[in-house]
């Protein structure tokens, strides 16, 4: 399986991710994009600042990609996450999967996003009319 993991400040390109995982033998090409939303828990959001502990985040992105694909027939997988200040509507994360059939690809994307949100040391700080606030999700499991 080919895995392409990126953590970058430049805009993410869905078409580039799709092209990376497409292949003649892949009957399913699935591209999931996470996008900055204009509201969170009822509060307006104008932008989100993403930060990471980069060396560990890269290691964990690679690990969660492999775990999500384990036992599934996945041919190619791209997992790209953006850092920096993103405006509403900008893409913060892309998971692109190429596989022979659709069900493994759908399952892989679902697993991968769950693992990413639990484990990968990336944080978002929301900006809104009332100022900035950290979003606290899950505490990574103790090792």
């Amino acid at each position: 399986m080919n895995i392409d993991v990126r953590l970058q400040r430049e805009a993410l390109d869905e078409g580039q991710a799709r092209a990376l995982v497409a292949a003649a033998g892949h009957g399913a090409v699935l591209v999931f994009s996470g996008v900055v939303r204009n509201v969170h828990e009822g509060l307006p959001v104008s932008a989100v600042d993403y930060s990471a502990y980069e060396p560990l985040a890269r290691t964990e992105l690679e690990a969660v990609a492999r775990e999500a694909a384990a036992g599934l027939e996945i041919g190619s997988l791209a997992l790209w996450h953006r850092l920096g200040l993103l405006q509403v509507g900008e893409v913060s994360v892309i998971v692109a999967v190429g596989s022979r059939h659709r069900l493994p690809a759908l399952r892989c994307v679902e697993r991968l996003m769950d693992l990413l949100k639990r484990r990968v040391p990336i944080w978002k700080q929301e900006h809104g009319p009332d100022g900035v606030r950290w979003v606290e999700g899950q505490l990574p499991p103790t090792r």
Binding site: G34, Y50, S51, A52, Y53, P55, L56, A57, T59, H81, S92, V93, M113, L116, K117, R118, R119, V120, P121, I122, W123, K124, W134, V135, E136, G137, Q138, L139, P140, T142, R143
Partner: protein, 84 residues
């Protein structure tokens, strides 16, 4: 007492508690992560409120409160993550 230096990184809400993403802290040999936190709390008392909601990494590897820190180590204090 032999002074050692550890770089402390704070991420998420802990970054605001420390007032910086990175600071250098001197501690004696044999200091564990737990000891360093107690030392930090004397300077940054609001850190205590975050203690039950922190994960730790030493030199970009997941770690825990009992890990012993060496001179030059990098300790990351990680708030609950929220990527995606």
């Amino acid at each position: 007492m032999d002074a050692r230096q550890v770089t402390v990184l704070g991420f998420g809400a802990v970054r605001d508690v420390l007032g910086a993403e990175r600071l250098v802290w001197a501690l004696p040999e044999g200091t564990r992560v737990q000891d360093l936190l107690e030392s930090l709390e004397r300077t940054y008392p609001t850190l205590h409120a975050h203690r039950s909601r922190l994960a730790y990494a030493v030199n970009a590897q997941w770690s825990n409160l009992d890990s012993v820190l060496k001179d030059g180590d990098e300790l990351a204090l990680l708030s609950p993550v929220s990527g995606g």
